[in-house]
């Protein structure tokens, strides 16, 4: 009598990942040119990024979220109920998070990254101060999201050019919660310049 087997494939429990991601930004060296990233061996080393001029956004309220949101246009014909093709109309890729560290750098970043910060050292009769002057001429930047992968090394999602252009609403509460600065970084570079790099093994020598 023939058997009728049911043997589903096994799943990979070690590929089920969780944990925070590290969002870093850096100024574009020139319009449309991505900031330099560390060598492969140093992709997971925070100080290597900082040393190249990248800035860590710091603590967030609920981590960083990456969102890929394509909209598509179905190509239909009368003779067939299902579409004969699906064309990509728009493809938005964003990083969002609620910045929890209230620094002038973070406020500027959330508010479009267009402002300037002038610092004055304390002197006789002059208190030390930093002044953020806002601007609606938003400056583009590079952004990366770094996380630990299934191999225990870094995975880096790199977007060479993003713009910070989200709504920012900050509640100043007595005790209910910290002051938050919502950040939305939207990719504005060609889609094929965005990369995911997964480190899989150390160098052999």
């Amino acid at each position: 009598m023939p058997t009728l087997p049911y043997t589903p494939p096994s799943y990979g429990t070690t590929d089920v990942l969780y944990g925070t991601g590290i969002l870093m930004t850096a100024p574009n060296p020139s319009l449309g040119v991505g900031a330099t990233v560390p060598s492969d061996a140093s992709l997971g080393v925070g100080s290597a990024w900082i040393g190249l001029g990248w800035s860590y956004v710091g603590a967030t309220e609920a981590g960083v979220t990456q969102t890929f949101n394509p909209t598509v246009q179905n190509i239909s014909i009368e003779e067939q109920p299902t579409p004969v093709g699906v064309a990509v109309n728009t493809a938005d890729l964003t990083f969002t998070c609620n910045l929890s560290e209230e620094t002038l750098q973070n406020i500027n970043l959330a508010w479009g990254n267009g402002g300037s910060i002038a610092t004055t050292a304390a002197g006789a009769g002059q208190p030390g101060k930093s002044v953020l002057t806002l601007s609606t001429t938003f400056a583009t930047l590079s952004a990366v999201l770094i996380a630990k992968n299934a191999f225990g090394f870094a995975t880096v999602l790199s977007i060479p050019t993003v713009v910070s252009a989200g709504q920012v609403q900050t509640a100043f509460r007595r005790a209910a919660q910290q002051r938050l600065y919502p950040l939305t970084l939207t990719a504005i570079c060609p889609f094929n310049s965005i990369t995911f790099t997964e480190l899989t093994a150390p160098a052999t020598s």
């Binding site: 002038a118 002044v131 002057t133 400056a139």
Partner: protein, 94 residues
């Protein structure tokens, strides 16, 4: 008046405390370094700017100019100058 005990010649305390001497030396070396840096021509594609008093640094779009001559990408200069004007900060070529 009590007489101070005589100190052997080799054991005389130094006139300047060692910490002060080290600070002086660091200050002189820093000044020499700044002078040497100022004498170097700027890297191609960069311009050296500095911020004038009372400010001691100025940052726009991730590019920071300090009170000492700071190389910045030439492409960033127009934006720095415009923002400095808006913020009441003076930048000068160094």
């Amino acid at each position: 008046m009590t007489e101070q005990p005589a100190v052997p010649a080799g054991k005389q305390p130094p006139a300047v405390p060692p910490q002060d001497a080290a600070r002086d030396r660091i200050g002189k070396l820093r000044a020499q370094l700044l002078e040497a840096e100022a004498a170097l021509p700027p890297e191609p594609g960069t311009v050296r700017l500095r911020v004038t008093e009372p400010h001691d640094s100025f940052t726009v779009a991730g590019v920071t100019v300090g009170a000492d001559p700071t190389p910045v990408p030439a492409g960033a200069v127009p934006r720095l100058m415009t923002a400095a004007g808006d913020a009441g900060v003076t930048l000068e070529e160094a």
